[in-house]
C-alpha cells in the first residue's frame, strides 16, 4: 500500500493556489532560467529571492523538512558547489575561458600513485559556483514544498486538468506517493536487519565490497516495491481502471490569484527570454565588486 508525504492543511497563500498554478509557475521559472541559459546574478538573485519568499509563505515547519534540507544542502553545496569550484564545468564555457586571477593551486593526487593534477582555483570558478548554487536553489525551493503543501488527493486531478491522459495522470499520482512508501519500506528493512546485528556504520572495504554489504537493505526494499507495484496493478484492474475514459471527481477552478500568479510566472519566462535573446543580457560574468574582494 502506498503512503503519502507529511501533508498538512495550512491556511496559507501557497495552499490556496490551484495546484496547476503552482506546477505551471514552477515550470515557468525552470524554463526561464534554463531555456535562455541565464547566468547573470542580477537576474538570478531576484528570482531566488522571489522563490525564497514563496517558500516562506508556505509556512512549512522546520522539523518536518530538516532532513530533506540536509539532503538538498549536501547535494547542492558539496556536489554542485564543489564541482563548480574545482572544475568550472556544468555551465557556460566562459567560466574557464575568460582570464581570471588564480586564488591558489589545489594539488589533487590519486592515492598511492604518482598521477595527479594541479587544479587552479580562479575567482571566475568561485563566482560560477555561487551562481550555480543560487540557480539550483531557486528551482529547488519551488519544488521542495509541494509534497508538504499540496493535497495528495489532487495530484492526479491536477495533471489530468493540465491535459495529461488518464493513465499518465494516475501514474503521476502514484509516483508522487512512491518515494515516501520507499522510505517506509527502507525503515522497516533497516530495523529488521539491525535486529540481525547489521551495522551500517561498519561497512568496510572498497566501493564494490561496500555495495555488496548494502545488499541486505537494497534487495528487500526493491522486492517490496515490486510486490507493491503488482498489487496496485491488480487492484486497479479489478476496479476497471483504464478500460473507459474515466470521470475525475475532483474539480479544480482557477481564482483571480491564480491568474495573477500565472501571469507573473509567464512574464518572468518571457522577460528572461527577451533579456537574453533580445538584449543580450544574462551571460556569465564576474562582477567587479567580487574580484576586488580578492585582488587589490
Amino acid at each position: 500500500m502506498l503512503v503519502t508525504w507529511k501533508y498538512r492543511i495550512r491556511d496559507t497563500f501557497i495552499q490556496r493556489l490551484d495546484p496547476r498554478t503552482r506546477l505551471i509557475y514552477m515550470l515557468c521559472i525552470i524554463f526561464a532560467i534554463t531555456l535562455p541559459d541565464i547566468w547573470d546574478y542580477r537576474i538570478i538573485l531576484p528570482l531566488f529571492l522571489i522563490s525564497l519568499t514563496l517558500y516562506f509563505l508556505a509556512r512549512i515547519e522546520w522539523k518536518d523538512v530538516k532532513r530533506a534540507w540536509l539532503f538538498i544542502g549536501v547535494f547542492v553545496f558539496f556536489i554542485v558547489g564543489l564541482n563548480g569550484v574545482l572544475s568550472g564545468r556544468g555551465g557556460p564555457d566562459s567560466v574557464t575561458n575568460i582570464p581570471s586571477p588564480v586564488l591558489f593551486i589545489l594539488p589533487l593526487k590519486i592515492p598511492f600513485t604518482e598521477i595527479g593534477w594541479d587544479i587552479p582555483l580562479t575567482i571566475a570558478k568561485l563566482w560560477f559556483s555561487m551562481v550555480q548554487i543560487t540557480r539550483m536553489l531557486t528551482m529547488a525551493i519551488l519544488a521542495f514544498p509541494i509534497p508538504y503543501t499540496m493535497d495528495p488527493n489532487i495530484y492526479g486531478t491536477a495533471f489530468k486538468r493540465m491535459g495529461s491522459s488518464d493513465k499518465i495522470s494516475f501514474t503521476m499520482d502514484l509516483a508522487f506517493r512512491f518515494l515516501p512508501t520507499l522510505a517506509r519500506d527502507f525503515s522497516i528493512t533497516m530495523d529488521a536487519q539491525r535486529a540481525r546485528g547489521y551495522e551500517m556504520d561498519k561497512l568496510r572495504g572498497g566501493i564494490a565490497a561496500r555495495l555488496r554489504r548494502l545488499a541486505p537493505l537494497i534487495i528487500p526494499v526493491v522486492m517490496q516495491s515490486t510486490v507493491t507495484g503488482e498489487e496496485v496493478i491488480d487492484a486497479m484492474d479489478l476496479r476497471a481502471f483504464g478500460t473507459t475514459p474515466r470521470t475525475w471527481l475532483k474539480e479544480l477552478h482557477y481564482q483571480p490569484r491564480d491568474y495573477m500568479m500565472l501571469a507573473f510566472g509567464v512574464s518572468i519566462l518571457i522577460g528572461c527570454c527577451v533579456l537574453k535573446w533580445g538584449l543580450g543580457i544574462g551571460e556569465f560574468f564576474v562582477p567587479d565588486f567580487f574580484t576586488i574582494l580578492f585582488v587589490k
Binding site: L2, T4, N153, D191, A215, R239, A240, T244, L249
Partner: protein
Amino acid sequence: MSNFPLVVDNLSFRYRTRPELAIENISFELKQGELLLIAGSSGCGKTTLARCINGLIPRSYRGERSGSVLLHGKEVAEMQIPEMAQIVGTLLQDPERQIVASNVYNEIAFGPENLGLPRDEIVERVELAMKRLKIEYLRDRETFNLSGGEKQKVALAGLLSMNPSILLLDEPLASLDPASAHEALEVFRSLADEGKTVILVEHRVEDAIETHPDRLLYMEGGRIKYLGTIENLPSEIDHTQVKLPAQWVVKRVKEQKKPVETPHQHKVDEGGEPLVVFEDVSFRYSEESPLILQNVNLKINRGDLIAVLGPNGAGKSTLVKHAIGLLKPTSGRVFIQGEDTRKMSVAQIAKVLGYVFQSPTHMLYAQTVREELEFGPKNLGFEIEPMNKSVAESLSTVNLNGFEEYPPLGLSFGQQKRTTIAAVLAMQSKIMIMDEPTAGQDFANYTRFMDALCSASIDSQSILSANFASTLFITHDLDLAVTYANRVLLFGDKHIVADGKPEDVLKDTDLLLKYRVRPTSLLRLNLDLLARTKRFLPAESLAAFSF
C-alpha cells in the same frame, strides 16, 4: 437471462507452469442473496476457483481452462472488464493490497470514476456505500492511517460503490483483530440478506459460521469434497485442515477413537534473574505525538512462552521494539540481562534477543538459504566452525534440510517464514520474539508450524525451549495463546492490562472483549472443563476430558 447470478459448470483449470490440474470438475450454482462459504486448506484450489469467478483467469493467469463460469448467464471469459467489475466485486485477503487512493472518499469513488459515470451518480454511490457500512466519519481520513478493520470496510465500500451483484471475499478476516473480524462477518451476512450473492473464501470455518452460510463448499485436491449445509458437515472433513469449532473437533476425535497426546507444559524458572525488565517505560515518537506506551512494567523470565494479545494499533510492536533496542524509551528504562538498552547497540542486544519480523520480505535478501542464515552470525562475529554448525542445526530444526542452496525469495510463504525463524535461531540468541508468526499462513500450515516450534514431548524439548531461554510472540489469534503460551499479556490503553497464566488472564471474558479480543469456542470449552483439565489444552486433547 439465467435465474442464477453465478453458474459454474464442470470447471477445470491447469496453470501453464504446472503439470497437474489446479481445480477439476467443479460445478455449482448460486442464487441471489445466497451466502456460500468455500473452505479448504492451502493448495486445495479455492484461490484458483475465485480467480475463475472474478475473471483474473483467463485474463491475468494463463493456462488451460475447460467448462464454464456464467455470470447472469454470460460466460466470464467473453466479458469485458468494466462489465465484469460491475457484477463481481472482489475483496482481497489483505485490504492494504486493494487500496489505491490516498484518502477514503477518493478510494470509494475510484471504481465508479473508472466506469466513467456522471459526477452526481458517483457522489450518490459513494455516500450510499459509506452509509451502508457506517463509515461516514472516515470520509476525509488518509487511507494509510486507518486501522486494519477500517481499511477493510473502506475496501468493501469501494466494491459496493460499483454496485456488484456478487461479492467475492477472499480470506477477508486474515489481517483483522477478532472484534473487527466479528464486525466484518456481520456486514457480510447483512449484505446477503439485502440480496447480494456472497462467496466467502475462508479456512477459519469456526469464524465464518457466524455469517450463517447457506451452504459450505469444501475443497480438497482441487475437487469438491462436500457441498451442502454446514449443519450436515460430514465427519470426513479433516479438522486439521480447516479451523472448526472446538466442540466439533472434540466430537470428531471421539468418533475417530484415535489416541491423543496431551502436550507437555513449558516450565517457568521463577528463581532466576529476569532476562528482560521494563521499568516504568513510556514512549512517544515525537514531542507533539501522543504517548504509545505509558508506565509499562514487565519482566520476562526463563521458561516464559508469552503470547501478547490486544487490539490493532495498540502498541504491541512498539513494546517489543523496545526490547531489541530499535526504540528507546522516552522515560523509564529497559534492561537486557541487567544492562540498560540505552547503553547498548542493537547489534549487542541481538546477541541476546532475536526478533523475527512479521513479513519475511522485509528480512530476506541472500542468494541462498545458507547465505541468509549466515548473515546474523557473521554480523555477531561468529568463527567459521561454530557458524557452520549453528546454521546446519538451525536448518534441521525448522525442517529446511535440502534447501540450503535455494534462493529464499523463491520459497513458498511458509518456507520463507521458517527461513526467518532459522535465521534468528542461527544467531543463538537467548530470547526469541516473533511478531505475528502465523500471519499470511492458513490454518493447517500455521498449526503445523506452531506445533513444530512449541510442542514438547515428555522425552524431548520443543524447538523453542531447546534453543531459547524464553519466547514472546504477538498474535491476534486467541487460540494460539490458549494452545501454546504459558503466560499471556493483554495490552491496551498504552499499558499491560493483564499479565499471568493463560488460565488466569483469559477467564475474564469481559476484559478480553473490552480490548477487542473475542473469546473463541476453544477458550470457552477450556474454561468449561478447567476444573478437570487444570490447564488449557488444544481441542483434540480436550476430547479425553469432555462428556
